[in-house]
Symmetry: C2
Subunit: 391 residues, 2 copies
């Protein structure tokens, strides 16, 4: 029998414990064997919990217990979580995590240890929460050359942008609502500055293109520059503003990865993904365009993906064999400012004819050009805001 240890029993950890308990029979039937929760590592007092007798506070008990074959990390961050995961893998245990920060920063190293030890290091929940995306991408679509991936991979910012466009709220009002509803942290920086989305698109790019893309190398623009008037212009021009993680691989294998608000045509499904929901579009040479949609966060959706990963670890006791990538290739990373696209530009008088005017301000959609050409064409000081148009 496979025994599981859960590290950290906050929102997601508790969800895993619940699913393993409540759906235990179904899981056992599917796998042909039982999966038993043996330990919950947690320093806080859990004496009132149904799983109280399984709570321990020393990782060494887990490391030394050969019955524990699978460890679920729900601690978060890259400090103690990184240290514990590394130790667990070194001890020959498969590890499941939803920690995108850790996967984006240390995935390459941890995958190598897992490979060496013949165990799994899997992280379906690290991108898109409950949405199946990593396994479909690396398994079902593995016969494709992936050309492009873009998606709404941060629910907090999608909630804020939805409120701005549908309810006319300002950024500050929408953020305050998001915080009140528990969709945004007290310090919302990682979400609103695009840092969270950056980690996730890096993981998808790593997996699709085969070499490590460090988040620090990725141009990342959040949504703090999106003003109410941009939302209004978007609506009148037939678009919705969405913060997208975006990665493109050209025919020479050059990869351009960036995070930025995009003007998404209202006819695209992605423009209709609202509130805290997430969706990822994959463009492959054979499959064309696929979209994967669902809840990008939350206790049960995230735990759903992690329990799926636990089951995958059970099925592949010799280690998962399709999630992997190689060392960084600086020669394969392209500058996103050189990538041509059409742009939405809100500008002040500079000889360009406006396509729309509102409150004395002007906006237009350009022909396709690089960011460099855009700045040259308008003059950097004349551009009040500029966002890429998704084609």
């Amino acid at each position: 029998m496979n025994k599981v240890a859960v590290l950290g029993c906050g929102v997601v950890g508790k969800g895993i414990v619940e699913i393993l308990t409540d759906n235990g029979a179904g899981i056992a039937k599917n796998l042909g064997e039982e999966v038993e929760l043996k330990y919950v590592l947690e320093k806080r007092d859990c004496s009132g919990e149904s799983f109280a007798e399984k709570v321990i506070d020393d990782i060494n008990i887990i490391l030394a217990d050969e019955e524990v074959t699978i460890v679920c990390e729900c601690i978060g961050g890259v400090g103690i979580a990184y240290e514990f995961i590394k130790k667990c893998l070194m001890a020959g245990k498969s590890v499941v995590t939803c920690n995108k920060h850790l996967v984006a920063e240390h995935g390459l190293e941890l995958l190598a240890i897992a490979r060496e030890k013949g165990v799994s290091f899997v992280f379906e929940a690290s991108v898109g929460g409950g949405i199946p995306i990593i396994r479909p991408l690396t398994n079902c679509l593995a016969g494709n050359r992936v050309k492009e991936i873009f998606g709404i991979i941060n629910g907090t910012t999608n909630y804020i942008l939805t409120q701005m466009s549908q309810c006319g709220q300002s950024f500050a009002e929408a953020l305050a609502d998001a915080q009140r509803l528990g969709y945004a942290e007290a310090d919302p920086t990682a979400d609103v500055e695009g840092i969270d989305a950056c980690r996730k698109i890096c993981i998808l790019a790593d997996l699709s293109f085969g070499h490590n893309i460090p988040p620090a190398k990725v141009k990342t623009q959040g949504i703090t520059a999106v003003e109410g008037i941009d939302s209004a212009f978007a609506a009148s021009l037939g678009y919705a503003i969405k913060l997208l993680g975006h990665t493109i691989c050209d025919d020479d294998g050059m990869v351009t990865t960036f995070v930025a608000p995009h003007f998404v045509p209202q006819s695209a499904l992605l423009a209709n993904v609202n509130g805290v929901m997430n969706a990822v579009v994959v463009r492959g040479d054979s499959v064309g365009e696929c979209l994967f949609y669902g809840a990008g966060a939350g206790r049960y959706p995230t735990a759903s993906a992690m329990v799926g990963d636990i089951m995958d670890c059970v099925r592949h006791s010799d280690g998962c064999r399709y999630i992997d990538w190689g060392e960084e290739r600086e020669d394969k990373q392209a500058d996103s400012d050189a990538l041509p696209s059409r742009w939405y530009v809100r500008f002040e008088g500079c000889g360009h004819a406006a396509m729309a005017e509102k409150d004395g301000q002007k906006a237009l959609i350009t022909e396709s050009m690089s960011a460099y050409a855009l700045r040259e064409s308008f003059g950097e000081d004349k551009i009040l805001s500029a966002f890429r148009v998704l084609d």
Copy 2:
């Protein structure tokens, strides 16, 4: 090395040959080993083709060749395809197919043979063409209790319904266009009567609920009863008409499966899936609602899914361990006419107040009720058309 035989070299078979050739290096890198096409079984003259030297016309050559570990069936139908697949599995070869007719009718038997022989019988392309749906459902979402699946799983009928609603075409005009564009067969019965969608929803129900649902037991209504005026009422009431395969499992494990046109609220992503595109929604107890969207047919999308399956067979040389279901359970199948839902009803004078009127005809959306209650409430002879509303 794993060697592959492709049975039948029509539209999809040729796509597989092309992908295996053109993406061979990428596939080998992903798998850590090469996949070589050894035979193409085809009776027609292929002398002008690049793979002409691999063409044979005797299945026994494939059956006797131990180097061939994986067979891709692209013949179609349940005659010779069934016979060949059975022989290949019995000979210890994994089989990949896109043949929904065969999987829905004979999947149970063929999976049992595969299990006994320790090989894979996989069919990702049988539902939703290139869209990853079977593996995400059975693997990533395996920790969930699936409660409901519904989707647009026939591109031909979705094209016709889209044309009717967006261009005001009649059913006959839209069908003629679909045939001219190659989206519909000369004999469109299997598509327009919902038979194709029925096979696909049965496969998803089999996989999700664990017992065989024979297509013959599933109430299946196609789109021939949808009239232009229903499309017009749908638009004015805020809906789109979509042909959905639909399966629901209640808390007691009773499964209701049916195929019928539905009124889908325009705010739902599914209402915005147009033309020949497909999309499937899965509702699970943990993950909530997920949607999977993409091309449901066509050479390369279908071949993309089948090459993904070939790669899965290579990775699981001891047989795929997560796609399976059991014998039919008549005691677990519920009558779809007893399933309550709201309904769109177009009717003639019977004491009900219309919510919309057009060309002297009346329509309304009911409260939730069974089909039996609906017929009793209106009088069967007063109902001109009635379609379920998706909630």
